[in-house]
Symmetry: C2
Subunit: 361 residues, 2 copies
């Protein structure tokens, strides 16, 4: 059983997952690209190498954990957290800890070992987003699970340990402080203005235009004003909504398209591209007596968003010491470069510039 | 001129240092190991390749920017921030920004291109720490500079762009939120208990012993209870003090020794070692009317410390999304491994187990 430990000074939790651990000497070798086929636990035909599937997109009537699927969701074989058991919150003198209760799932996005999300088609990306929705909704039925992180690591520099295309979901029994910070700030802004801060940022960026990378009828991709990393991107729904789970079929298709086009535009900018993307959903809206009331006002002041974080600079001591980042590429420059790439693609007829699908109830 | 931009949602500043920037395509190539000699701007004989030196340890009477030195401090040739000019705090609609006023200095630790701090001697490490003290004290004379980050990146994975041994100092016109968080937490603890939280942690760890890596008369090295990274280490003075600048000659020698031994012990654990170390000093204690009173109580509740952060795991989407870390090595295991390495070294007679130097007034 892993442990959740809280830093005694700041409100930062860490999962000590020693059962996933390697012996000290085993840290020397970097993770390797895995070969497709029988050696890859996520390829078609290797279904028995993963724990039994939780959910899948596969032909009707086909048996779980057999070939023929288009997408599978399975528990992580080396989970950082497990669903079984009690949290057992306790102290150790000045320290706080609890057992590592939670969920850690892997979304195997495709049977194709060498698929790149940037290459599409949009319908394949849409299936991945559908899996996020289905699993998020299901995991939030467990009231112990207060927050779900949905993320994708692409490339070795982004921390991917398997090269087969996959995403991960980790559901945790605490709301992480980075999320709490955003929630509190959004609530505080709403208290002052009775407007969503994310909506205000979108409106200003659409008026100024110099950090807009791509917009469609229902989504917008922005190079954020205070980008931490070169070519960092933020994708938001234009219409206010805190609830990723409520995205319609058409909305999902629109999101798939803008995400896929953003990833495709980053490739000419960055060459061999490693990136993380992180879907920032709202926490599980379970009533929590005595806790700040931003839990009950999420629908007013929170706005889900997806961050794309290319891994082109390495974090160094300055960033670790301060949480203060140095970014050598102005977001306006990044946005201008990416707009040019996308315009070239449009001129080449590779993609229509107008989005046709629309989200809705 | 670079810009400091604040994230519109959370209290996070970013330096947009586009003048250091490379063109988008130039991000493809990783930094390279530099060769020693004429090609290395930090080697002896290359003094004209750096801006004029600010401070140095060199034979009495020798001219600045000539060979013969043991250590040099020079401005960064591609500074993230510059000392000249006004801060010009301003808004852009919903956003906050200011000009990139500050200082960015490089401490060239030795003329020897291939020196490893882990190999010592302690006296060479002590000279580096002396340079930190001298520059910190000087920079804090400028009331605009509210915080100094002193750090060292070793190895390409740690973000070092030059392989010649060096540290960096960045002095910034705001207190970063990570530091503010620590200051506020330390103050809040002191308010409740009238004790320093760092002192309490040291006392508990010395009583429990399982996370103690090394202790000397005046310093202690701990694998922190909620370590974010495998083999993360925290070095603290045992006696309460917030003021790194006030460290005595003997104290500096004691710190040099424990830091050098920690780095040496990490090598057998991690093989080819990349690490960041970050000296966490107190902010510039300039009175700031209207600001929280922890500024005036630093001497009671803050305790300087040095973090050693080995770079063995890559941050992935989960960490970026949440500020919540997964660490596959329990700190107790790391501490036990490092204690064994150090005991072997002691038995081999490589180093006496009792520290002889002592800090003092």
């Amino acid at each position: 059983m892993s442990e959740l430990r809280k830093d005694p000074i700041v409100d930062r939790w860490v999962i000590i997952a020693a059962e996933r651990g390697r012996r000290p000497h085993e840290f020397e070798a970097p993770p390797e690209e895995t070969a497709p086929g029988a050696a890859c636990p996520l390829c078609e035909g290797s279904e028995r190498m993963t724990p039994p599937e939780i959910w899948a997109i596969r032909p009707e009537g086909s048996a779980p954990d057999t070939p023929g699927w288009q997408l599978r969701v399975v528990p992580n074989k080396f989970p950082a957290l497990r669903v079984e058991g009690e949290m057992n919150r306790r102290g150790l003198g000045i320290f706080d800890l609890m057992d590592g209760v939670g969920a850690h799932e892997v979304i195997v996005e495709t049977p194709e070992h060498d698929w790149h999300m940037a290459d599409g088609p949009d319908a394949s990306v849409e299936q991945v987003l559908r899996a996020y929705q289905v699993r998020l909704t299901d995991l939030y039925r467990d009231e112990r699970l207060r927050y779900c992180v949905i993320f994708r690591n692409h490339g070795l520099d982004a921390g991917a340990s398997l090269s087969h295309p996959h995403s991960q979901i980790i559901a945790i029994p605490v709301v992480p402080r980075r999320v709490k910070g955003k929630l509190a700030a959004a609530r505080e802004y709403y208290d002052r203005k009775e407007r969503c801060i994310f909506c205000d940022i979108i409106a200003q960026e659409l008026a100024l235009r110099d950090r807009i990378v791509l917009e469609s009828e229902h989504f917008v991709a922005i190079a954020p004003f205070a980008s931490r990393f070169p070519f960092e991107l933020l994708v938001l729904p234009r219409r206010h909504t805190h609830d990723f789970g409520a995205l319609s079929d058409k909305g999902r298709m629109g999101l798939a398209r803008i995400v896929r086009r953003c990833l495709a535009a980053l490739r000419p900018a960055l060459g061999h591209l490693s990136y993380n993307f992180v879907l920032n959903v709202a926490p599980n809206p379970v009533p929590r007596p005595g806790k700040p009331d931003y839990w009950t006002t999420l629908h007013l002041d929170y706005h889900w968003h997806l961050e794309i974080l290319p891994r082109v600079t390495r974090l160094a001591g300055f960033e670790w010491g301060t949480g203060f980042y140095v970014n050598p590429v102005a977001p306006e420059e990044a946005a201008s470069f990416l707009r040019d790439v996308l315009a070239d693609e449009d001129r080449a007829g590779g993609a229509p510039s107008v989005e046709v699908s629309a989200p809705g109830g």
